[in-house]
Amino acid sequence: MTLTLALVQILNGLQFGLILFLIAAGLTLVFGVMDFINLAHGVQYMVGAYLVAAFTAMTGSFLAGLALALPTALIFGLLLELLIFRHLYDRDHLDQVLATFGVIIFLNQAVKFIWGAAPLSVPIPDALSGAVEIADGMLYPVYRLVIIAVGLAVGLALYLIVNRTKLGMLVRAGASNAAMVSALGVNIRLLFTIVFGVGAMLAGFAGAMVAPILSVEPGMGDNVLILAFVVIVIGGIGSIRGAFIAALLIGLVDTLGRFMAPTLLKMLLDPAAASQIGRAIAPMLIYILMAAVLFFRPSGLFPTKS
């Protein structure tokens, strides 16, 4: 019984990790190629969720909503790049942190202004609303399995593009040494705009995918953003492979930690204290993990720059 419960938790952790990967992929490439800290990446995720909520309500179909939300998220991301981010590439990190912080403040308030402060809910599409039996008497929602499958598929596609295509080669080269790639005659600004657009769309896609299982609300991107930064810092900035492994690690540690910490502590302490301390420690686990990784490997698990 505990084993099947653990299986459910592992699937939840995997699903959370894959969503984190979708967000972190764009962030790590932008970071790696242009050395640009984009705190506003989390609001792209929020915008994706709001767009799918709005378009689904408009068309009455989640799939149509998703099909409209994705290009809109892409255009929105490119617009932000054109209006604001473009002027920050040559600035130091402090300016980038602050200006993109301003974008967060603005957009969190803007969605409140447009859609109200109350959370929106997006219905799970009928075809995916069931549950399957993954073990004896243990049901698991189909939609979460779909998220896992889609996340893995996007991860694989991204891996192939980055490792097997010319564009991917340029992106990888840009992440290790942008100045050299530029000197070889590659239009690094254009390359970056492409990377940025795709990254924004992936974050928006992640937001759109989780919209039916989470509530869509202002500020929903803020905590996810911090987690995505934890992911890319652990993985090594600019490394897709590092982001993938770190995202799954974070997803599993966070989910399993919340599930297991109280249980494990019960072996050492009395039940009341164990559940109290367990609940206190669980959300801190991933930050402890990050601090530990950085203590031993200050540039992450898979550093791209030597």
Binding site: L98, F113, V233, M284, M290, L294, F295, P298
Partner: protein, 324 residues
């Protein structure tokens, strides 16, 4: 990163006297404000000005790190939380003595800064920003899970701190002048630190850590010492905040609050201690003013922040043309 600030290491005599005028004016204004406040909504003015001074105290300490040490800490609000919760938790157990509360806040801030600083300073640049952010988040989640002390909902402070057994801080004006005294004290302390040999080494490390190491200084120790000092001063700000609002909440330690602190410094001009005070005043007054006109004040505030970063380099302190 090293071109964050270009600060004259040896101020010319003329500049030195001018650099003294602006801070003197700022502190004189704060000292005299309660006399003028009686002609307006007094308790509102005193509360707002007290909060400005508390914010200024925390921002000024962060400026020691960012402006003079080029250590962009994104978790500085954690120390405000430590100070605030020291007051609230002790008070909830009936310990209202201000010196015990302050001592606890200083001790916990010291330990937290020492441990997290020792780890964070092993990393550089972006990694330093991120790891300090992570430590800030750790404390945020710790505060939200303190079910016995309010958890997510926060905790009311039953009584303001007692000074020598007397409840004098219940008087808003007394609390105001305590904030003023601590802000002035911290300003003079930080000014002395910045001008001292220690401060010059710190700035040297900011400009070129490799060279400083080559001529025999251990950057790590200097940076860690600065990190601990800054953390403890922010802890004091937290004690005052808990007294001023008579309430503490995990929101005090959220990463957005650390972002606010950085914004205050940039607004006031990086590397300028009194600039941090001016930045805190402008930040708070702007937020207050805009929120009077519309509940969606952040729609205006966000773009102002972006514009300040894009076009107003050097901040307000830069326009007024003086450094520390």
């Amino acid at each position: 990163m090293s071109k964050l600030i270009d600060l004259e290491t040896v101020p010319a005599p003329a500049r030195r006297s001018r650099a003294f005028v602006l801070p003197a004016v700022v502190f004189a204004l704060f000292a005299l404000l309660p006399l003028a406040a009686v002609y307006g909504p007094q308790s509102f003015i005193l509360a707002l000005a007290s909060r400005i001074m508390i914010l200024a105290l925390a921002a000024m300490s962060l400026d020691l790190l960012i402006g003079f040490g080029a250590m962009i800490s994104f978790g500085h609000a954690a120390f405000i939380g430590i100070g605030a919760y020291s007051v609230a938790i002790l008070s909830s157990h009936g310990i209202n003595d201000g010196f015990v509360q302050l001592g606890t806040a200083l001790l916990v801030s010291f330990l937290f800064a020492l441990i997290t600083g020792a780890i964070s300073l092993r990393t550089k640049g972006v990694y330093f920003i991120m790891i300090t952010l992570a430590f800030g988040q750790m404390l945020f989640f710790l505060a939200t899970s303190l079910a016995a002390y309010g958890g997510d909902d926060g905790l009311s402070v039953a009584s303001r701190s007692l000074l020598f057994g007397s409840n004098i801080l219940k008087n808003d004006k007394a609390l105001y002048y305590l904030c003023f005294a601590l802000l002035l004290g911290a300003y003079l302390l930080l000014r002395a630190i910045v001008a001292s040999r220690f401060g010059r080494v710190l700035r040297g490390i900011r400009e070129n850590p490799v060279r400083m190491e080559a001529i025999g200084f251990a950057p790590y120790r200097y940076q860690l010492t600065a990190y601990v000092i800054a953390g403890m001063i922010a802890g004091v700000a937290g004690c005052l905040l808990a007294n001023q609002t008579e309430f503490v909440s995990p929101a005090y330690t959220a990463w957005q609050r650390s972002g606010d602190l950085i914004f205050v410094i940039v607004l006031g001009g990086i590397g300028s201690l009194h600039g941090a005070i001016i930045g805190a005043a402008v930040f708070s007054l702007l937020a207050e003013l805009l929120s009077h006109y519309t509940e969606h004040w952040a729609l205006i505030f966000g773009p102002i922040l972006i514009l300040v970063v894009l076009y107003a380099r050097g901040g307000i302190g830069g326009w007024l043309g003086s450094k520390p």
